[in-house]
């Protein structure tokens, strides 16, 4: 813009055109708006529960991605920090309820955050000594350690039944008691927005950038003056803080925390899986991951008993064909759109989707019949599959499903080959255009 005061030198402008540009402002406003209006669009109580879960899982997955995507640290024990954050938060709520601790509910997530940070300082000191495989192994060990402690100290972890609480305590502020779920949702949404912004800001700080450098090439970082171990440690503490906030919000949301569920390695695996699915290479990837995590665990589990099997398959295909997750797929297509090449790809996408759906239908029918034979044998061989009746013990049903699967797979493979060729051509064209642009 020409109206900029001349006091700002052109040199600094050269660097400052990025941070607060219009596009970014619009995106953040949209994000805030979405958080505000979401419960008005989805009005059922199930939807509200899901939205609340999405809210704190966004914080947790983003905090996990500080380790995985930004620091190259494959942690198998992130639930330790969310879980311990939850426990400290729920004990703090119980203490506050008796009047022993003067902390209002709006600050309880911060208590969880500080707890997560404390344990990250304590345990991270050991964990971050090494990187790579050793790091992954140590997090796994610490995860198991804390999970087994949860059963050893029932006073703190509440044993099998867990710890319960009542989030409605103290004087209501402006009539807000945090009794109704909608009030809790907005508390979560506010934390979600602030934490997301804070974690995004972190990516633009010296520590955030050096963390990327440590991910890319730890050895070189040692030769530009940085102690890589300390970089990992600090990042780990920051991730622990935000994980603890997420854990604290979860405790407020459910009013119960159980050791068997909150700190175990299975939950850590879930964070890893969905952060990866969402996309670890882009900042916003884990947000998609958090949404998918809730959709999968609530809706997909309703749809089919074999939902974990499908989840595993999706994860498998993602690792093999799109290691950048859904976020990278979106960004690749946005790049095509920017160069006006997306339109030509629509027929291919439709063909791919259609054939994949056919294959999936065949596979799903077979999986459904297998589950039916194994689990519902007493109900007879007939089962209802998407409105059609299949005979689980008839060769015809199996043959039919197999035929659909094989046909789908075959057609999919044909479409895929054609698509790969087309994709390559388009990328070449784009490269060509960029080169031409540079030459001008």
């Amino acid at each position: 813009m020409k109206t900029t005061p001349s006091a700002v030198s052109s040199a600094t402008q050269y660097y400052r055109f990025k941070p607060w540009n219009v596009g970014r402002l619009v995106l953040w406003s949209l994000f805030a708006l979405l958080l505000i209006v979401a419960p008005m669009l989805f009005r059922s109580s199930l939807a509200l529960t899901m939205l609340s879960q999405i809210g704190y899982l966004i914080i947790i997955c983003l905090s996990y991605n500080i380790l995985l995507g930004q620091g190259g640290m494959l942690s198998f024990g992130h639930a330790v920090y969310t879980g311990l954050g939850s426990f400290i938060a729920i004990h703090a709520m119980n203490l506050a309820g008796t009047g022993a601790l003067p902390v209002p509910l709006v600050l309880i997530p911060l208590v969880g955050g500080l707890a997560g940070m404390f344990f990250a300082i304590l345990l991270g000191f050991v964990t971050t000594k090494k990187s790579g495989t050793t790091f992954a192994m140590i997090t796994l060990g610490i995860g198991e350690l804390v999970a087994s402690m949860a059963l050893m100290f029932p006073e703190f972890f509440g044993g099998e039944g867990g710890i319960t609480t009542d989030r409605v305590y103290g004087q209501p502020l402006f009539g807000i008691t945090f009794g109704p779920a909608i009030q809790v949702y907005y508390l979560i949404a506010a934390y979600c927005f602030v934490c997301t912004a804070a974690m995004f800001a972190f990516t633009g700080t010296p520590l955030g950038r050096i963390l990327n450098a440590v991910r890319d090439n730890p050895e070189r970082v040692e030769f530009i003056g940085y102690n890589t171990r300390r970089v990992r440690y600090f990042a780990f503490i920051i991730a622990g803080f935000f994980a603890g906030i997420g854990g604290g919000l979860a405790a407020i949301n459910f009013e119960i925390v159980t050791g068997a569920d909150s700190v175990n390695v299975l939950r850590s695996g879930g964070y890893l899986l969905f952060t990866f699915l969402g996309g670890a290479t882009f900042f916003f990837g884990p947000i998609i991951g958090a949404v998918l995590l809730v959709l999968a665990s609530v809706l997909l589990s309703e749809l089919s008993k074999a939902w974990l099997l499908y989840l595993g398959l999706v994860f498998l295909f993602m690792v093999m064909y799109a290691p950048g997750g859904i976020a990278s797929l979106i960004m690749m297509n946005l790049r095509l759109a920017k160069f006006g090449k997306l339109r030509g790809l629509w027929p291919s996408y439709l063909a791919l989707g259609g054939t994949a759906l056919v294959a999936l239908l065949g596979a799903a029918a077979m999986v459904g019949m297998t589950y039916h034979l194994q689990l519902n044998a007493a109900l007879g061989p007939a089962l209802n599959f998407l409105g059609a009746t299949l005979q689980a013990n008839a060769v015809g049903s199996w043959f039919g499903a197999g035929f659909v699967l094989v046909t789908g797979l075959g057609l999919f493979e044909l479409c895929r080959r054609q698509f790969v060729r087309q994709w390559g051509e388009i990328q070449e064209e784009i490269e060509h255009e960029i080169k031409r642009g540079e030459a001008l």
């Binding site: 040199a11 800001a201 050096i210 540079e438």
Partner: protein
């Protein structure tokens, strides 16, 4: 310290030794490099040139002996400590941050020396001095047109230039370059030597190099390493005339470079 009469050496090695298992790789190296000198280290393959660099820069600790940087002991210290004391190095195999852009690579290199350390309460975009310095470096290594290109997408020669840029970024006054022109064509090498001369102006430079043309064009002094020992350390002319060097290693290589118009 007793350095009142004359300034300490920029880099001094005293009876430096390194064993890998029972094998002695570095066998008592003594070397004193004065501030501002350009020293080329030459020697046959496997003589221990790269190991010497690794000992100086802290990648390995020496088995015995001392390394002094501007009069202070640095042997046994971690690489990042040595770097903070003013020694920087490049690598024989390109060693950059592949998924960061050219600009980010260089900015990472300047951060510590400008005192930003592990700060997470300031925005990189507002660090005018770091950005200005990274921009200067980018122009210096002629990559300013590739500002936002990821390092992994650069050509080999550009990556080598970036490697030098990262090495120079922290403003260290002693610089070790390990075969900076390895794998480059003749014309690229010639251009690259100009670049190295330019960016190391006024600093102490040690470089491992195989290309004799480069060695005699660049160095004030040459150290000849054979089987883990420095058998000669003198001006290029004196080294060329040294009978022991002729016998042990140089011979035809020097004659070639001489005849080659350098």
């Amino acid at each position: 310290m007793n350095t009142t009469t004359h300034a300490p050496c920029a880099l001094e090695l005293r009876d430096l030794r390194k064993n890998f298992g029972k094998t002695e790789i570095i066998r008592g190296v003594n070397l004193a490099v004065k501030p501002g000198e350009r020293v080329a280290i030459i020697g046959p393959n496997g003589a221990g040139k790269s190991t010497l660099f690794n000992l100086i820069s802290g990648r390995f600790g020496p088995t015995s002996g001392e390394v002094l940087l501007n009069g202070r002991r640095i042997d046994g210290k971690a690489p990042y400590e040595i770097n903070r004391m003013g020694l920087s190095r490049s690598f024989q195999i390109t060693n950059i941050f592949p998924k960061l852009s050219v600009f980010e690579n260089l900015r990472c290199g300047v951060l510590w020396s400008l005192g930003y350390k592990y700060s997470f309460l300031r925005f990189l975009s507002k660090l005018d001095d770091a950005n200005e310095r990274a921009k200067q470096l980018m122009e210096m290594i002629r990559l300013d047109k590739k500002r936002d290109t990821l390092a992994v997408n650069l050509t080999y020669a550009e990556q080598r230039a970036l490697e030098i840029g990262i090495t120079m970024a922290g403003g260290a006054n002693v610089v070790l370059l390990d075969e900076p022109t390895a794998g480059m064509s003749r014309s690229e090498t010639t251009r690259f030597i100009h670049l190295i001369k330019e960016v190391t102006e006024g600093r102490t430079l040690l470089t491992v190099e195989h290309d004799m043309g480069v060695v005699f064009g660049l160095a004030d002094k040459i150290a000849v390493v054979v089987y883990g020992e420095v058998i000669a350390f003198d001006t290029p002319d004196a080294v060329r005339a040294n009978a022991r060097v002729q016998e042990a290693y140089l011979g035809s290589a020097v004659a070639d470079a001489h005849a080659g118009g350098h």
